[in-house]
């Protein structure tokens, strides 16, 4: 049941993101007579403080949450896995330095570093992606490093080394496939984290700039009209929570299925 729920929500989310621009939506169209109209049969999800249709804005907002999450998780996964694998495989002083760098990045609590980076880089889509990626790679690097450390002494790796396989061949062909499962799970939870972080930055006014809709900035706009039109906070908030909840539930499921703890040991 739960899997059905999360699959359906996620399919809708991705479909909105990919096909949203093809739909006849008018997220910036102002209908002065409809200002703050609550949801009804005629108004679907209602209208915001400027008379813009919330349904259109939620659909277009899905686009940014999805593509920011996709980009940030891809970049973080690639960079983090690369650095983590290199660090564990090469070892020595290189590993020592990388571990310190990871520790330093982890010392910034939550999305604080992303807030600072986005604030200083200035608003905009690419800066949001840069800020969140600079914060995001660390988790993947730490995970990959721990897993590679636990695996690099295995017999099949020694056999490959004895056969003269190069460093890259061993990392790519003999180590990474074994740690794919935990990386997939980490990526899933990272998507949920990034969706919230992107909305958080937009809520603070540091993300995608108006009039382009983002779920975070829609919630912020809504807080000003909460008493008269709570739907302005409820609608984008529910969209955000449904997506994050679905991704988290999917991650939980994947963790049970792939049973990571049973297969790979060696936590830091």
């Amino acid at each position: 049941m739960r899997l059905w729920f999360s699959s359906i929500i996620l399919i809708i989310w991705i479909a909105m993101a990919v096909f949203g621009p093809l739909l006849p939506l008018m997220p910036d169209h102002i209908e002065l007579s409809q200002i703050l109209t609550p949801p009804s049969d005629a108004a679907w999800l209602g209208y915001d403080d400027l008379g813009r249709p919330l349904w259109d804005r939620v659909v277009i907002g899905a686009r940014f949450s999805f593509f920011v999450a996709l980009l940030v998780v891809s970049v973080s996964l690639l960079v983090g896995t690369f650095i983590g694998a290199m660090s564990a495989y090469i070892g020595g002083w290189f590993d020592h330095v990388i571990v310190r760098v990871i520790d330093v990045f982890l010392a910034f609590p939550g999305i604080l570093l992303a807030i600072a980076l986005a604030g200083l880089l200035g608003p905009g889509l690419s800066n949001v992606v840069i800020a969140l990626s600079i914060v995001g790679w660390v988790g993947f690097a730490r995970l990959t490093r721990a897993q590679v450390l636990a695996l690099k002494g295995r017999e099949h790796v020694q056999a490959a080394q004895a056969l003269g396989a190069g460093r890259w061949r061993i990392i790519l062909r003999h180590l990474l496939p074994l740690i794919a499962a935990p990386l997939i799970i980490e990526s899933t939870f990272a998507v949920a984290g990034i969706v919230i972080a992107e909305a958080g930055l937009s809520f603070l006014g540091l993300g995608i700039q108006p009039p382009t809709p983002s779920w975070g900035s829609m919630i912020r706009d809504g807080t000003r009209y909460m008493l008269v039109s709570p739907h302005m906070v409820l609608v984008p908030g529910m969209a955000l929570i449904f997506v994050v909840l679905s991704v988290n539930m999917l991650g939980d499921r994947l963790r049970d299925w792939l049973d990571v703890r049973g297969r790979v040991t060696g936590k830091v």
Partner: protein
């Protein structure tokens, strides 16, 4: 034990130096000329040069960095561009509010998470367990910046029980603390459940039951006491999420703490203040974690005694 404390403190020091260096570099990622961004495009060249000189940005980077670290050692964060006051004074004004909020949030998290996590573990796979874990899943999926406004809507605007925002007595603390605390309690209750479940499968629990102890004593005295140890470490780590979340919660409730100062400073392009705030929160987080590790080592005789033999 001393050896352990020393090694933890020295690695904390290295991390703090690294964090400071990264915070120093922040001003150099501002696109274009940071002085022009801070003062605005219409500023006079003379003013720009004065600020550039005051911030040391006309010096070579290494010189800048050395004087930056030198100033940090003297707790000199510079002067706020906006209020023209020493940043350390501004920070000291704001710290109590953030400390109060974080502490209250932590308290809420503990009060919710312990009964919930323990109940879920003891009645594993029951309706209670399912309910507690559903709450936890929902809790990690609801962001502070939505939870806060909804609580304001219900308890301030509709029911009129609590103030909407600001920091004015206990009543104004309730909603921000609930916002911050419920998010953390969601994660914490999962940890408590997992930790207690692991302990309840141990042989000494079976022994305790076999010798006829009441279930309450088995769970609390034999189970929870042991399950608490890993939870303490995770609690320290989760304080990071709490501090990060405090920034957004402070914005939602206009809570006059360091988080609000950070965002105001970003909006006013008062970058020295931004740097000081980020540094302060991160260093506080590192110190809390180091303290947690030391407390953990002290509480766990396995670590305390093993280290003592060195």
């Amino acid at each position: 034990m001393l050896h352990f404390i020393f090694s933890r403190l020295s690695s904390a020091l290295i991390v703090i130096i690294g964090v400071s260096a990264l915070v120093f570099l922040l001003i150099h990622i501002v696109p274009g000329d940071p002085v022009e961004v801070m003062l605005g495009e219409t500023s006079q060249p003379a003013d720009r040069e004065a600020l550039r000189h005051a911030l040391g940005l006309d010096q070579p980077v290494m010189t800048q960095m050395l004087s930056y670290f030198n100033n940090l050692l003297h707790l000199d964060f510079g002067t706020s561009l906006h209020s023209k006051r020493p940043i350390i004074d501004v920070l000291l004004e704001r710290i109590p509010a953030t400390f109060e909020l974080a502490l209250a949030g932590l308290l809420v998290a503990i009060v919710i998470a312990f009964p919930l996590g323990m109940m879920a573990a003891v009645r594993k796979d029951s309706v209670w367990d399912g309910g507690a874990m559903a709450f936890s899943m929902l809790g990690v999926s609801i962001p502070n910046f939505w939870m806060g406004p909804i609580l304001i809507l219900v308890f301030s605007l509709w029911l009129g029980w609590l103030p909407v925002s600001g920091r004015d007595g206990f009543a104004s603390l309730v909603l921000p603390a609930l916002t911050l605390g419920t998010a953390m309690s969601a994660i914490l209750s999962r940890m408590i459940r997992a930790s207690l479940l692991e302990i309840l499968g141990e042989d000494f629990i079976r022994t305790a039951r076999a010798k006829g102890l009441s279930e309450n004593i088995v769970i609390i005295r034999h189970g929870m006491r042991n399950a608490l140890l890993p939870v303490i470490t995770l609690l320290g780590l989760q304080l990071g999420t709490l501090l990060g979340g405090a920034v957004i919660t402070e914005i939602v409730f206009s809570w006059p703490g360091v988080g609000q100062l950070t965002i105001d400073a970003i909006n006013q392009r008062d970058y020295p203040v931004v740097q000081a705030c980020i540094l302060l929160i991160s260093v506080a987080y590192v110190l809390i974690n180091t303290l947690t590790d030391v407390v953990y080592a002290f509480l766990d005789p396995r670590i305390r005694l093993a280290e003592g033999q060195h």
